[in-house]
């Protein structure tokens, strides 16, 4: 075992098309996947999940523009490989905590599209009974411990969940997602310090999509190699190609092993990109269409589809079949959400206290 960050960093050569290069020079390249080691069922499941998230989010955009979804709505389009790849490396009883851009991770962790869409529609059948909305999806049954809407707020929480697993001597692992903007918050640093100090089985995944709302990484972070920040806490870290779903899966597998067997934390920096605005009300003036298109060339779903086709895992016909199936699943979610009842007005006053006293 080693908690020496330098030894943990993956130095394999990169064949990335240049877009992964950070604004400053890095001393390493991102982990990427090589040959397929998974069985067909796993690979298709991963592919299907990414596609489902993409179509689900597109439906959300439509529903939001129709006024069926209120408030803020942060879409995951472009980042699917991060959530799907990493969560695919977990056991069912492992925990996930994340930010407000969490529809995709919620689907990957096993909340049904029906329950998520109903939540977005503010319906009683939503996974948070209509009280949380897009930014606060929860499902205790699948150990999805929430979308949290204060940037970085979920990081100490996840650290505490990992603390509880260690305290109770279970071997559950906690996965914590956050954007790179959260790295500038004190909560990130305070959490990493405690996680390594107390050897907590927590995996911190920074989804570096290069923008904190409208502010680019270069304008916000003095030293923008997020993975290297783990050195300050002697935490193992990896810089991963967040557009490569298997790279995400494999890096997370390594981190899970470290957490489960040695009760140690890991920081993964996943370099990714969001295609849509920060939220649905973001005009996106801070970046060019050309930049977006450049990243879309390395679309995680397209790349994975090509890889699966090259390796004869699936065919175009299989993909068309999946598309049809998923379209029906997403439409079902929208119909379910539409048809579901609004929360009863009496729900306004419930769940404020677990032990209401008067």
């Amino acid at each position: 075992m080693s908690s020496q960050p330098t030894e943990q960093r993956n130095r394999s050569n990169s064949s990335a098309a240049g877009v992964l290069d950070p604004p400053e020079k890095r001393d390493s390249s991102p982990s990427q996947s090589k040959e397929l080691t998974e069985d067909r069922e796993t690979l298709v499941k991963i592919f299907r999940q990414m596609l489902l998230i993409r179509r689900f989010e597109e439906k959300c955009a439509e529903s939001y523009s129709l006024g069926k979804i209120g408030g803020f709505c942060h879409l995951y389009i472009g980042q699917e490989a991060v959530g799907v790849g990493s969560i695919s490396a977990l056991r069912e009883d492992d925990y996930v905590l994340t930010s407000y851009r969490e529809h995709g991770q919620a689907i990957a962790k096993g909340i049904t599209p029906d329950a998520i869409m109903a939540e977005l529609y503010g319906k009683a059948t939503g996974c948070s009974r209509g009280k949380g909305g897009s930014m606060h999806l929860f499902d205790k049954d699948v150990n999805f411990l929430g979308g949290h809407a204060i940037v970085g707020g979920q990081i100490p929480l996840a650290t505490g969940v990992a603390f509880a697993s260690k305290y109770k001597e279970t071997d559950q692992v906690t996965l914590c997602f956050f954007g790179e903007a959260a790295v500038n918050q004190g909560a990130f640093h305070e959490s990493l310090n405690m996680a390594q100090l107390w050897k907590l089985p927590c995996i911190y995944i920074c989804e570096n999509n290069m923008y904190g709302m409208g502010t680019s990484l270069a304008r916000a972070m003095s030293f923008s190699d997020v993975a290297q920040k783990a050195c300050a806490y002697e935490i193992a870290s990896e810089f991963v190609d967040g557009m490569d779903v298997l790279a995400m899966r494999h890096a997370t597998e390594r981190a899970v092993k470290r957490a489960r067997e040695e009760s140690l934390p890991t920081l993964l920096e996943a370099r990714t990109y969001r295609y849509m605005g920060h939220s649905m009300s973001d005009p996106g003036k801070y970046r060019t269409r050309a930049e977006i298109e450049k990243y879309q060339e390395r679309d995680p779903i397209k790349m994975f589809a090509n890889k699966l086709k090259e390796q004869n895992v699936i065919t175009d016909a299989d993909i068309a079949g999946l598309e049809k199936e998923i379209k029906e699943e997403v439409e079902h979610a929208a119909r379910f959400a539409d048809a579901s009842p609004l929360p009863d007005p009496s729900e306004l006053y419930t769940n404020v206290y677990a032990n209401p006293l008067n």
Binding site: Y95, L97, G126, C127, S128, R129, G130, K131, G132, H136, F138, D139, K140, L145, G146, H148, A149, I150, G153, I155, P156, L157, A158, T159, G160, V161, A162, F163, A164, S165, Y167, K168, G186, A187, E190, S191, N193, M194, L197, W198, T350, N351, V352, Y353, A354, N355, P356, L357, N358
Partner: protein, 326 residues
């Protein structure tokens, strides 16, 4: 009945609850090896070991959030703030996470956690270390706020707070740690949250006081009795949820109310009580409700100025006389 200091009564409550429930653990700055900055946690490390009594780095936001996360996953953390002044760093996790988790998860995640430590004025520790923050926390639905005024209440209320399934802000008073009082020895004896206690009965005026102001108000009541004014002194003990009914009943009897508090008057707990009485007992008032609060300045250092900043027996007497038209 044993005579204990407030400090030892709190220590006993922690010890009994740690022994009773293995999901309870205690964390905070200097709670373990140092034996507690104010010695409230003395001896607990030796008895329960480092797994359950944990020294934290000085990282209030971090360990408050860690506690809330641990509560989400089924533990019952007791998080000590060396003083509540430092909890200001942790308010994001207390207010945005602990207070709202149950609600925004549609009832799925309760947060059984206690945040405790000294609050209010100490002795000459100046502006940043002498703040009464109860009105901050009492503002938020989802939190409960408890402030004991006797060793017996401290023990019984802390045990209830630890057993409660909601986040409880448990505010002790540094000046009162050495105060002695009789404490029942029964380990199962708890004092329910949300229930006020009439600390002294009277018919002419009601004084509502909490924490340090309870002994101050009782002294004022003694003096006032000599002047022919019989005061009822009520300690709400729990600020949220507030047992307003007990106060209303008393005001219906006395027709006069003085609320004494260490905290600032503006947007404070006394203001809230005053508003409640206005709404619920207006027709019973014979005089406007009078607040006796900490003066509206940061706490000064100089001893004489500090004394002027905190309500004392004389100010409470003057207020009672004013509402009693005497």
């Amino acid at each position: 009945m044993a005579v204990l200091t407030m400090r030892d009564a709190l220590n006993l409550a922690l010890k009994e609850e740690l022994a009773r429930d293995s999901s309870v653990f205690l964390m905070g700055e200097e709670v373990a090896e140092y034996q507690g900055a104010y010695k409230v946690t003395r001896g607990l490390l030796e008895e329960f070991g480092p797994k359950r009594v944990i020294d934290t780095p000085i990282t209030e936001l971090g360990f408050a959030g860690l506690g809330v996360g641990a509560a989400m996953a089924g533990l019952r953390p007791i998080v000590e703030f060396m003083t509540f002044n430092f909890s200001i760093l942790a308010t994001d996790q207390i207010i945005n996470s602990a207070a709202k988790m149950l609600y925004m998860s549609g009832g799925q995640f309760k947060i059984p956690i206690v945040f405790r430590g000294p609050s209010g004025s100490a002795y000459q520790v100046s502006s940043q270390h002498s703040q009464a923050l109860e009105s901050w926390y009492a503002y938020f639905p989802g939190l409960k706020v408890v402030m004991p005024s006797t060793p017996a209440d401290a023990k019984g209320l802390l045990k209830s707070a630890i057993r409660d399934d909601d986040p409880v802000i448990f505010m002790e008073q540094e000046r009162m740690y050495g105060m002695k009082g009789e404490v029942p020895e029964d380990e199962e004896l708890t004092i329910p949250l949300g229930v006020a206690e009439v600390k002294r009965e009277g018919k002419d005026a009601t004084i509502v006081a909490r924490s340090l102001m309870v002994p101050t108000a009782l002294k004022a009541a003694e003096e006032l009795e000599k002047q022919g004014i019989l005061c009822e002194v009520i300690d709400p003990r729990t600020i949220r949820p507030l047992d307003i009914d007990t106060i209303v009943e008393s005001v219906k009897k006395t027709n006069r109310l003085v609320v004494a508090e260490e905290s600032h008057a503006f947007c404070g707990v006394a203001a809230e009580i005053s508003a409640e009485i206005n709404e619920r007992a207006f027709d019973y008032l014979d005089a406007p409700v009078k607040r006796v609060s900490g003066v509206d300045v940061p706490m000064p250092y100089a001893k004489n100025l500090e004394q002027l900043a905190i309500p004392d027996v004389e100010r409470i007497i003057a207020a009672v006389r004013e509402v009693s038209y005497s």
